[in-house]
């Protein structure tokens, strides 16, 4: 084990019945790193995160989290980890303040009242402090959950899709906050389905069918994919996209605003496809975007449907 690895687990296995949900996953996350956890629905992200904080026992493998054994020392890991569950799991019949106060008390924080007040101000929850959690909108629930899991100043944050259903501005603030905390030395493992969020991670880990498929900085992942992408501008992009999608070698064709974007692994096939169009479009090659890479990964034939 390297000293500055906050998460260091090897060969994790977890099966439910005969289904292998996590299958030989090895993961290392350095202190202060923001690690994006990506993968299709059902690829095992939530299960992995649960194993890291001792909520699910692995069938095989093991390792450490914050230098503590994930199986033996789970209770001590929990003291230093902030885990934000995918499903909102605070008490809907308690107000925002009461929920936070409960968390603060369970962690036996000194100056409970001040700590709660500080986090309410920091998360912009002041206006809703007296509202029942169950009556909050989805985005505000997420903010409450995030507030609750950073309240005890954890060393490691495990965030399971923290921004699902959160509006763009709140998402931006959310990520600014995560970066803020990472700057103070906090380590973050965050699962997400949003590409813009993946791009803000120091490193991303892509999971497929319980196995780690790709990892690296967003740039490395994009470049290392071997994916070739072309972009076009011009009239009738939607019609062109529909035609191109059916052509061999074209893995994806999508319109983003005024540009048409196609991607595939086979340069020759892509060029043939472009040539076969009637023209009127101005084509040029662009570096692959993260989004292209993930669509490519998601549509790999070996990916079972979860």
């Amino acid at each position: 084990m390297t000293a500055d690895l906050v998460i260091d687990v090897r060969d994790l296995h977890k099966s439910y019945g005969t289904r292998k949900v996590v299958d030989g996953l090895t993961l290392a996350v350095k202190a202060g790193e923001i690690c994006g956890f990506l993968g299709a629905n059902g690829s095992g992200k939530t299960t992995t995160i649960r194993m890291l904080c001792g909520l699910v026992r692995p069938n095989g493998g093991g390792g450490t989290c914050l230098g503590l054994d994930i199986i033996r020392d789970a209770p001590r890991i929990r003291l230093q980890v902030g885990y934000m569950t995918q499903r909102f799991s605070f008490y809907e019949d308690l107000t925002v303040t009461e929920n936070l106060d409960f968390v603060a008390a369970v962690y036996e924080l000194d100056n409970r009242r001040e700590a709660v007040k500080a986090i309410i101000d920091r998360m912009g929850l002041a206006d809703r402090a007296g509202q029942l959690a169950g009556e909050l909108s989805g985005g505000w629930k997420q903010r409450l959950a995030l507030a609750a899991c950073v309240l005890h100043k954890p060393k490691l944050l495990l965030l399971d899709e923290p921004t699902a259903g959160v509006d763009a501005k709140a998402r931006r603030e959310f990520w600014d906050l995560i970066h803020d905390m990472a700057a103070d030395g906090l380590t973050v493992l965050v699962s997400t389905h949003y590409m813009d969020e993946a791009a803000r991670c120091g490193r991303i880990v892509y999971l497929s069918d319980g196995k780690l498929v790709v990892q690296g900085t967003p740039d490395e992942v994009a470049k290392g994919s071997g994916l070739i992408t072309f972009e076009a501008t011009g009239p009738n992009l939607d019609v062109a996209a529909r035609t191109l999608r059916k052509m061999p070698g074209v893995e994806s064709a999508a319109v983003f605003g005024s540009a048409l974007h196609i991607a595939g692994m086979d340069r020759a096939a892509l060029e043939r496809a472009i040539q076969s169009l009637d023209g009127g479009l101005a084509w040029h090659e662009v570096p692959p975007q993260l989004e292209d890479v993930f669509i490519h990964l998601l549509s790999q034939p070996d990916r079972p449907h979860a």
Partner: protein, 374 residues
């Protein structure tokens, strides 16, 4: 997180208390359920039914006999009609057409005059003791009915009544008196209202998804379980006060023993139910299962505790099974304290089985409390 933390326990307790206060269902359950049940079960007691059909078996039609019959009628409880034969009396009781049969022995007047204290046999259909309880209780006052007919020397003195009633409770001998029922009712109502509240408490966390969070936080199972039990002990006491107050005010329940002792014993009894509920809650996978487990234990505790049937009248195996349930012991304790004025020494033999039971199920609960999600 080494060992039990009082601060964490308090944290969960505060949260539970807020939730209990906000849950309209729990509040309804706490107030309405015991009151409703008490009146429902106790309705027949309170009804104090009068004009009960009564048959008369008599051969002499003597003077004293007429006086006694008149006195019986005057109580308002007995509607008397003469019968022709024992057979008719038997049939009437069996069919439920008669609730009482008055048997006046032959030569009644002569026996009275001789100071032999003859007994008038009252056959009573005791299947519904509450229906006949008051009527039977009224008999005691009637032995002085002959006073005006008798020469002064033979009048009823406290020590020697000129005649007596011998009530023969048919079908259900132990529970002739109404007072037996209310203490039982207290125990049964408490069982229902306390068992179910905690039965739902932990499965509710699982089903609402809050369990994942709770598990991820540094609380220990024993802290969670204790915190879920304590509010309901307080509530259980509120229920006891409510039930006893109603029982005293409406049903005329006497309180002969120490209220403090009763409070102590019932506290233990409540704790045993709550612990059992928590255990169901940890063992069950979902709320439905938990409720089924609770219902499954309610029936035998009704049947075998001595609430429905006289305990001593049950077969040995049933008595053994009955001894396992806290409600059986609670019933004896409450009857003992309220009706007989029992003290600690008398109730101790019934106190420790409840304590052992509570401890045992708490152990099971701690052991089966799942600290992971799988």
């Amino acid at each position: 997180m080494n060992g039990f933390s009082f601060r964490r326990f308090l944290a969960v307790l505060r949260k539970e208390w807020i939730q209990v206060r906000r849950d309209p269902f729990t509040l309804r359950m706490i107030i309405a359920l015991p009151v409703m049940q008490l009146f429902l079960f106790g309705y027949a007691i309170n009804a104090d039914p009068k004009h009960l059909p009564t048959g008369l078996l008599a051969v002499d039609h003597s003077k004293y006999e007429r006086t006694v019959i008149a006195a019986l009628k005057n109580t308002g409880y007995y509607d008397i009609r003469p019968l022709d034969s024992e057979a008719e009396a038997e049939r009437g009781l069996a069919d439920g057409e008669l609730l009482f049969v008055v048997n006046i022995p032959p030569n009644f007047d002569r026996s009275v005059d001789r100071g032999e204290q003859p007994a008038i046999l009252m056959d009573a259909d005791a299947t519904d003791p509450s229906a006949i309880g008051n009527a039977a209780a009224a008999l005691a006052a009637l032995t002085s009915a002959l006073d005006r007919d008798l020469p002064p020397a033979a009048r009823s003195a406290p020590a020697r009544a000129p005649f007596q009633f011998e009530v023969h409770a048919r079908y259900n001998p132990e529970q002739l008196t109404v007072l037996n029922i209310v203490p039982g009712l207290i125990c049964i109502v408490l069982t229902i209202s306390t068992l179910f509240v905690t039965t739902l408490s932990i499965t509710r966390e699982t089903e609402r998804g809050t369990m994942e969070n709770l598990l991820a936080m540094p609380v220990r199972p024993i802290e969670v379980m204790l915190a879920k039990v304590v509010p309901y002990i307080v509530i259980g006491y509120a229920q006891v006060i409510l039930i006893v107050a109603i029982a005293v005010a409406v049903f005329g329940l006497p309180v002969r023993g120490s209220v403090a002792l009763l409070t102590l014993a019932l506290g233990l009894f409540i704790a045993s139910n709550l612990a059992l509920g928590i255990t169901f809650s940890t063992v069950a996978r979902n709320q439905m299962q938990a409720i089924q487990m609770a219902q499954f234990t309610l029936l035998p505790s009704f049947l075998l505790s001595g609430f429905m049937f006289p305990f001593k009248g049950m077969p040995a195996w049933a008595q053994w099974a009955g001894e396992l349930f806290p409600v059986t012991h609670a019933l004896r304790i409450v009857r003992g304290i309220l009706l007989k004025g029992n003290g600690f020494a008398e109730i101790a033999p019934d106190l420790w089985p409840i304590a052992v039971f509570t401890l045992a199920v708490t152990l099971v609960a701690t052991w089966s409390y799942r600290v992971t999600l799988d």
